[in-house]
């Protein structure tokens, strides 16, 4: 008897306490793996985010395309003016 408990129960309690601490260690190990995997995911997500930011900077220049189209239209209008002028002049030379 130990403190009013049978010796067999006391032994069982100690064994249970040992298993409990072992479970705590296993939980720590498994959660460490989980944190490591989440850190890997975090690093890769940061890479994806940076790549997308770079792509956004590059594609921002596509706003120049409508301006370029307007410039080409201006060239076309000027060429039309030249065409009309030369058409008027060629018969008078």
């Amino acid at each position: 008897m130990v403190d009013g408990l049978p010796a067999a129960e006391v032994s069982l309690w100690w064994m249970t306490l040992g298993i409990g601490f072992l479970v705590v260690l296993v939980v720590i190990l498994l959660l460490s793996f989980l944190v490591a995997f989440v850190k890997i995911i975090d690093r890769e997500v940061v890479k994806v985010r940076d790549t997308l930011r770079t792509i956004t900077g590059n594609t921002a220049n596509t706003t120049l395309i409508p301006q370029t189209a307007g410039g080409v239209d201006a060239v076309l209008a000027e060429g039309l003016q030249h065409h009309l002028f030369l058409g008027r002049v060629v018969g008078k030379v």
Binding site: V2, D3, G4, L5, V10, W13, W14, L17, G20, F21, V23, V24, V27, I28, L31, S32, L34, V35, V38, K39, I41, D42, V45, V46, V48, R49, L52, R53, I55, T56, T59, A60, T62, T63, I65, P66, T68, A69, V72, D73, V75, L76, G79, L80, H82, H83, L86, G87, V89, V90, V93
Partner: protein
């Protein structure tokens, strides 16, 4: 008994603490991942917005560019017509073919006579005399018509006024210092590098007359 109870409480508290710490840690990491994914989502939306401009814009440029490209030949045609009308286009004088001079020089070469060749001919002193006779004799009736009448100097050469046919002795006619080569249609002025070596097939009074007759300076002297 007390020791067992205390150790049991410690084990339970340790388990709860470990779980709480790891849950907080993983929570922080997942929150950061969520923020980064949110940024990536915004970037993707921007890229989609930018990409929407590409198709219509390029199509617009392509359409206008085709119109410009098809209009440029028309402008070029107009410009060509105007330039053709505006540019001076003088009628060039028709160059008379100097039949006598050409045939004479070829005949001289055929018999081996060179005006500047002072070497004696195989037949002795008579070679030069024969060559002179050949040079002076009209080859055909047509040639006789184009040649000047016999005299000290022809009044008009094979290329008209200002030109002179070669003399029988190969010398330079007075007042006609320009050498003309009818094969190459080049003329040589005195003092030029080719003048001494050039064999005159026709003489001209001036470079202007030679150019009027269609002769040109050698390319290196233009």
């Amino acid at each position: 008994m007390t020791t067992l109870v205390v150790l049991t409480v410690i084990a339970i508290v340790a388990l709860i603490a470990v779980l709480a710490i790891f849950l907080y840690w993983v929570g922080v990491l997942l929150s950061r991942i969520a923020d980064n994914l949110d940024d990536a989502n915004e970037s993707v939306k921007s890229i989609v917005g930018h990409a929407k401009l590409i198709g219509p814009g390029v199509e617009h440029i392509n359409r206008s560019g085709k119109v410009v490209a098809s209009a440029l030949p028309l402008l070029y045609g107009f410009a060509e017509q105007i330039v053709a009308k505006v540019s001076p286009n003088p009628e060039r004088p028709s160059v008379a073919v100097p039949a006598s001079g050409t045939r004479r020089s070829r005949m001289m070469r055929a018999v081996g006579y060179r005006p500047d060749d002072s070497a004696p001919q195989p037949s002795g002193g008579g070679g030069t005399a024969v060559a002179q006779l050949v040079a002076e004799a009209p080859a055909t009736t047509e040639e006789a018509e184009t040649e000047a009448p016999a005299g000290p100097a022809p009044a008009e050469g094979p290329y008209g006024a200002g030109s002179h046919a070669v003399l029988a002795d190969g010398g330079q006619p007075d007042g006609f210092p320009i050498k003309g080569n009818m094969d190459s249609m080049l003329y040589h002025v005195p003092g030029s590098s080719f003048y001494a070596r050039a064999v005159a097939e026709v003489w001209f009074a001036s470079p202007k007359v030679a150019e009027t007759a269609g002769f040109q300076l050698p390319p290196s002297q233009r």
